[in-house]
Amino acid sequence: MPKLSYRDASLAAVQHSMREDQTVWCVGEDLGRGGVFGQYKGLREEFGEERISDAPISEAAIMGAAFGAAMIGTRPIVEMRFSDFALCATDELVNQIAKARFMFGGQSRAPMVIRKPMGLWRSSAAQHSQSLESWYAHIPGLVVVCPGTPQDNYSMLMAAIACDDPVVYLEHKGIWDIEGEVDFSKKYEFGKAKIRREGSDVTIVSWSNTANLAVEAAEALSGQGVNAEVIDLRSLWPWDKEAVLQSVAKTGHLVVAHESVAVGGFGAEIVATVAEKAGHTLKGPVRRLGAPRSLVSYAPNLEDMLRVTSEMIVTAAQETLEKAN
């Protein structure tokens, strides 16, 4: 089994999909030279400039044109460079891509993957650091996924490219270099969470890079005799309610942690669902961790003020256990 970086795992997924299916192509700024994070390196040489297509700095046109191309028989992979710039193509994604199939009474499909590298990336400040996954989860018509490991960035991208729905594919740009073993034969099923660590005392639900921090937190907790279960949701729409409810039924304690702003975040959706369906089984208060509703700074100490850390997850788990009913 090869050991690959998060970046190279995604590269392998694109490469394997493009070899299998001639209608898959990639379009975005600076792709010819390998993409700004090197996640397309070497693909131009193998597939040529039509299938690894550069684009003008026209996010609306990249998104809109890829959509037009998706409606008539190709499967575009759209690269938005930074998820922040994808906001320049909001109409195209939200009003057009997400709605076309429905508005046209099922006449069209938009089989496309929209890659939007998101998240804190040291000293990138307010316009290059956002995580807006909960916005997309709010939009009917979109599938929303947030891979957090090299294995998932392979299997989930393969599945996203093969999917007939538009998939908002949110990679975390802080973890391009993390490495892990990648089994190319592993298939990803949308809406299936991954139990990253089994435990019976407290359930920690997370996704993207924060799921990695949750695993670290669980290891620290185990040193204190607390057995935490870590659920990496991986996809936010659809999301694996079953996995969360089953785990909470077992532990009676819930911590939800994500990097994006807590207010109106997807963590709130999870907590609300648990409250509705299993509130009576909870043995302690729910803890929800997310960024304060403030803006990301340039200075490292200020940037850190908005960061959810593994230490904070440990503390949150301790608090829900301490305040047990």
Partner: protein
């Protein structure tokens, strides 16, 4: 100046299509105002039918069309069924979009019509992408995207046109200039010399045609289509016409000079002009009248049938949103 003399049959087809579009929209307006059966806004293209008829005459079924909120004429001329369209306007079962889109999202993929759009200018980039895919797939269809004079002040106009030029795509952008953007005269809000000048600045070949002269539009489009089928590059066509109704069927258009619309009708109604051409070319009054009456009959019948059609089944409100995470399975 135009002459239908050399192509009498084409002239007849063009008039017939314009009559059908006019009759369709007159019935649609009646359904909205008199019958209160069209619940949402409709944007009539009465007075602008020459563009739809002249352009679509030169497109094949597989060619791709994208249009605007004012797209009934374009859609009908591309070959969509008048009954399916009327059902859509009334939000009924069997409407081209199952009653889920209405007038502003009318589409018929079977005839290459990829949709009107409720967002001004949005189809410009999408159309460029359709042409992009055609080039990638190596087939020889062409794409036509029609937008209004107001749309050229939106960003997608620049982004989509630049895209088409950079990638040398087989697409024609048509600015159907009816001189108004909703309740504002477009010229008062537009810098420079408008759509054609902007296209020229991007290195695009740009043609201007009398948008009320269906023969001239059909001639011009025949040439452009031949160039696009031979491999492009993209072009722009500016067709100046006039919006005779208000912005929507509900809009009395009190913001413009009282006699403007009637003067325009007298001088420039594309149907009257085409009738005169055909009469001069030897078509009988009776035949001209029968084209009119047949169109009226068709659309009165279509409205009646649409009115008698049931609304869509409730559960279709959750259909065709997405396969993965479908609201048919679980909405929340």
């Amino acid at each position: 100046m135009t002459s239908a003399g050399h192509n009498f049959e084409r002239g007849r087809l063009l008039l017939e299509m314009m009559e059908r579009i006019r009759a369709f929209e007159e019935q649609a307006c009646l359904a909205a105002e008199r019958d209160k059966l069209v619940l949402g806004a409709i944007h009539p293209s009465i007075g602008q039918e020459a563009v739809a008829a002249g352009i679509m005459h030169n497109l094949l079924k597989d060619d791709i069309l994208l249009s605007t909120h004012r797209g009934h004429g374009h859609t009908l001329a591309k070959g969509a069924s008048s009954l399916a369209m009327m059902r859509e306007l009334l939000g009924r079962e069997g409407g081209c979009c199952g009653g889920k889109g209405g007038s502003m999202h009318i589409a018929d993929f079977d005839v290459g019509m990829l949709g009107a759009n409720g967002v001004v200018g949005a189809n410009i980039t999408i159309a460029a992408g359709a042409a992009h895919a055609i080039k990638l797939l190596g087939d020889n269809r062409i794409v036509v995207d029609i937008f209004g004079d107001g749309a050229i002040n939106r960003g997608p106009f620049l982004e989509g046109m630049n895209w088409a030029v950079v990638f040398k795509l087989p697409i024609l952008f048509i600015c159907e200039d009816n001189q108004y953007s909703a309740t504002t005269r477009t010229s008062s809000m537009t810098a420079g010399d408008g759509a054609a000048a902007r296209a020229v600045s991007l290195g695009m070949q740009s043609t201007t045609v009398d948008g009320n002269d269906v023969e001239a539009i059909a001639d011009t489009m025949a040439d452009i289509a031949a160039r696009l089928r031979a491999g492009g590059p993209p072009e722009l066509l500016h067709a100046k016409t006039y919006r005779r109704t208000g912005h929507t069927s509900f809009d009395p258009a009190t913001y413009r000079p009282a006699n403007e619309a009637t003067e325009e009708e007298k001088k420039n109604d594309p149907i009257k002009r085409q009738r005169a051409i055909l009469l001069a070319a030897g078509m009988s009054e009776a035949e001209i009248q029968s084209l009119h009456e047949n169109a009226q009959k068709e659309m009165i019948d279509v409205l009646k049938k649409a009115t008698d059609t049931p609304f869509p089944a409730n559960e279709t409100a959750f259909q065709d949103v997405q396969d993965i995470g479908s609201p048919m399975v679980e909405a929340y």
